[in-house]
Symmetry: C2
Amino acid sequence: MITALKRLLVGSPMATAQAKQERLAKIPALAIFASDLMSSVAYGPEEILLVLVLGGTVALQFAPAIAVSIAVLAAIVATSYWQIIHAYPSGGGAYIVASDNLGTLPGLSAGAALLVDYVLTVSVSTASGVAAITSAFPALYPHRVGICVGCVLLIMLANLRGIRETGRIFAIPTYWFILCMALLIVAGFYRWMTQGPPPPPATVAVVEPLSVLLILRAFSGGCASLTGTEAVANGVQYFQPPESRNAGITLIWMATILAASVVGVTFVAHLYHIVPQPEETVVSMLGRQLFGRTWIYYMTQAATAVILLLAINTSLAGFPMLASIMAKDGFLPRQLAHLGDRLVYSNGIIICAVVSCLLLVIFQGSTHALIPLYAIGVFGAFTLSQAGMVLHWSRERGPRWRLHAVVNAAGAVTTAVVVSVVAVSKFVHGAWIVVILIPLMVLGFLSVRRHYDTLRGQLTLRGFVPPKIGRHPVVLLVGGLHRGVVTALTYARAISPNITAITVDLEPTATARLQQQWQEWAPDVPLVVLDSPYRSVMQPVLHYVDQMEKQRDGDYMTIILPEFVPARWWQHLLHNQTALLLKTALLFRKGKVAISIPYHLDR
Amino acid sequence: MITALKRLLVGSPMATAQAKQERLAKIPALAIFASDLMSSVAYGPEEILLVLVLGGTVALQFAPAIAVSIAVLAAIVATSYWQIIHAYPSGGGAYIVASDNLGTLPGLSAGAALLVDYVLTVSVSTASGVAAITSAFPALYPHRVGICVGCVLLIMLANLRGIRETGRIFAIPTYWFILCMALLIVAGFYRWMTQGPPPPPATVAVVEPLSVLLILRAFSGGCASLTGTEAVANGVQYFQPPESRNAGITLIWMATILAASVVGVTFVAHLYHIVPQPEETVVSMLGRQLFGRTWIYYMTQAATAVILLLAINTSLAGFPMLASIMAKDGFLPRQLAHLGDRLVYSNGIIICAVVSCLLLVIFQGSTHALIPLYAIGVFGAFTLSQAGMVLHWSRERGPRWRLHAVVNAAGAVTTAVVVSVVAVSKFVHGAWIVVILIPLMVLGFLSVRRHYDTLRGQLTLRGFVPPKIGRHPVVLLVGGLHRGVVTALTYARAISPNITAITVDLEPTATARLQQQWQEWAPDVPLVVLDSPYRSVMQPVLHYVDQMEKQRDGDYMTIILPEFVPARWWQHLLHNQTALLLKTALLFRKGKVAISIPYHLDR
């Protein structure tokens, strides 16, 4: 039944041989990887304005300049990544590039930062998308957390079905959103030119004096627009061959559209004196002002909501991909490197979705609390990978290596400056969590790796003396005398001549009757009666087994547990789970083998 | 570690021989069994007023009359139960009396009604107790659900420690509450006599015309005061010998105090024109009017809160007691009849507490939604047990049997009328849920009983032919060649000469290497390679085992799974749980024995 449900939700299993087909042309690839980057247009400009508004009307004048500087930053980052994609055609995220060139610790730091970032992107995008919906329909506001979680789970299912199908699902909304943003910007400029500037703004009260720190914090907020660049570099192998070329072109397209949109939206918001409000998003206010509550406004809101909700797809594709690479290197549990039966890394997808849902529930679907958390991770990873590339070029010394190195060095310096700015200006606003979390994660990765490393040594056959089984003592646990017990006894006789039966005395009359019956059925097998003053079955049995340990011959001892298997699931509730508990307890005692002999009931 | 925590919370285990000591003198017994009955003084009068207020000022005049009729009802029910306690000295709740005299179905109906009632009492008492706290301290209102759940879990722990200790814990607050109610009533009458009547009330608007149905609904609400009477009859064996006499006297005390309090509180509320409000309880309003916000008011509120919170103890003692009786009769899972290591029915206590907490969370700590649900169950059970007693007396024909029969018949008729009144007047207010739930529970009880009945037949040794083990095929699952696998192979050789090794081909190069190594280590054991197009280990293994089934010799086949046991708990996360999943799947296939051979890692 569970299998049937799984098939219905994620589709039939796919053979390993089908793997090569799951590649993406540029058009759907742009849709998949662009949704994260593009969608940040919905909250990037807003984060800039939200900080600036604290400085009052004068501070808000800086918004266009900050938007332009973020566009320049996008150009630098994209150029650097374009080089990385070509240097690492098999997929080179910050983790691989930093590990390769700077060593394990920087690589793991970059990996940790990106894993955190993917999860946060899912949460922030979902929260923002639902904010776009509740801006248009305030009645839905009380249900926002439920809507958030439902959306994440839906996109998780789409991802579990496989990446190509999700590409197809997502192409239309992504292009629709780009169109809407273009429309918004063009309409804004056009109306401004034809109808002249809108009435002068109401003065905004000053909460905090205008300072360099305020401007820097606004810039840090706007940097959230750049998350998602990494996903393309990690996902190069999803592209159709030639992978690097296709991925590189996609990246440049994406960065260009992004920069144009961020600058455009911020400019138009500036022209129309938009002041951010807690109840409504900046894009919604802008749309209302330009189009009124017409179908164009609702279409824009819908596109914004849909792209934000789909943006979580980037991370749900990026997180498992990176986790699988780190798992193959032994820094994460191996299960994350297993392709699921739909040829996707199902475990990684599920973990990312579940953690994001938890964050959404804990933060009650609020965007702004999470945004400071992740800019630092993103730009930290950028810096590490750019720095790694500088070393890469200077080692390889291929044609034009100096130019390449200079480009990446410029990227590294720029993003390092951004990290410092974010870390300093947003430290008390939540950046400190990331500063603590990333080293902890790196320690975790190292422990996992150490376990796998020592595992090989512990399991090697070199110098290994196989255990002696010897006279092979077998202990048979008897409750009462019935078909299940006789079956188990028959099995015990088949595997050893050295059998002892034990029973726990819970009720003296029942025990006396059992002893008498036992004499008739199995006079050759001794029956030991164990006392149980506290009415427990577990304790006396474990105690007896530990006692036997001292006098046994050979390295292994077997405990046989007769177990009947009910015909229907609910009947399990009507029987003690003592066998299961005993098996679990015995698993942790050396040299014990616990065997359940099932006896199947008919009804 | 878990064991240590359990010891800390519930105390050291107690031997079976200590059981007799756990008996109660009348004074602590009154405290335990009275807390439920007495505590309903806090919400019984309020439920009467809450309905009457819909009929406006005129309807509120009926409150004292309704209170008196409930006192009369209490006298009738108590007298009937006093007879039951003497006729069933080993403990005779409605379930036993109805089963004994009316047959299985009425007995099970009574049992179902009481189990539901116990759970609801826990929820309602907790919600009411927390309402008393939030009446005094409105700031705590937003945290009410958390406080409710915390309280239930705390009392659950007290009960898991054992009944005598809980008796001692609860004696003081119960008597303190009785004192507070007496003080409230006496102060009310005294002030009314010395200072004359308070100013005439503001007119209350009429929401619903005054009708017989409205009066009946108010009476139904007030009937909630009588829940808890049953607990004494079920718990007779908790009393010190002579059990029946002590239990009977306790019951009469309880009923008298209850009737006096309900009538007193309702009268005083009537004198002072108290109109129920959603934000404050009637007792709180009364206390404030009589004492002001002085320490006497706060003491009364505290006593009310404490007794209501302790009332859940009655149910947490009553539910497991009844569940254990029904489990011994085979109508509920046997685990409910097992005495825990503190000589209490721990499983029943935990189930009752957990379900109540769920109700509290679902209903967000609101009392009134739950009250209509349980009056019908309580009075249905009363009716069934009284009717059973009438038959009991007419069969036994002991001295004065006619008098006894008449008393119980009067009780049966009265409570039957109450059931009809509640069912009709509260049907749409939630009574329908109980009307559906109880038959479903009875069906469940019958299925459980049928399972246990057929179990004996399925397990009988009469005519049983023990299975053949024959050449005993053993299948060894091999992933790679390491110490764990060699250990498992050694074990396999010890239990059978007929071994086949199988491996699932997940990666062709690893498989080829394994085949080569296998030739060196175990050339005598054939190694079968299974294809896995969908990268699953489970499916090919299960398919192979099912194929083998057809050609095997003997009735049982063994599958050996080498499993290494990590040294630390978190390392389990770093390995596949394939062995566990395979063992679970194999358990449900007939004639398969799955054995894990543990190999313990050192670090």
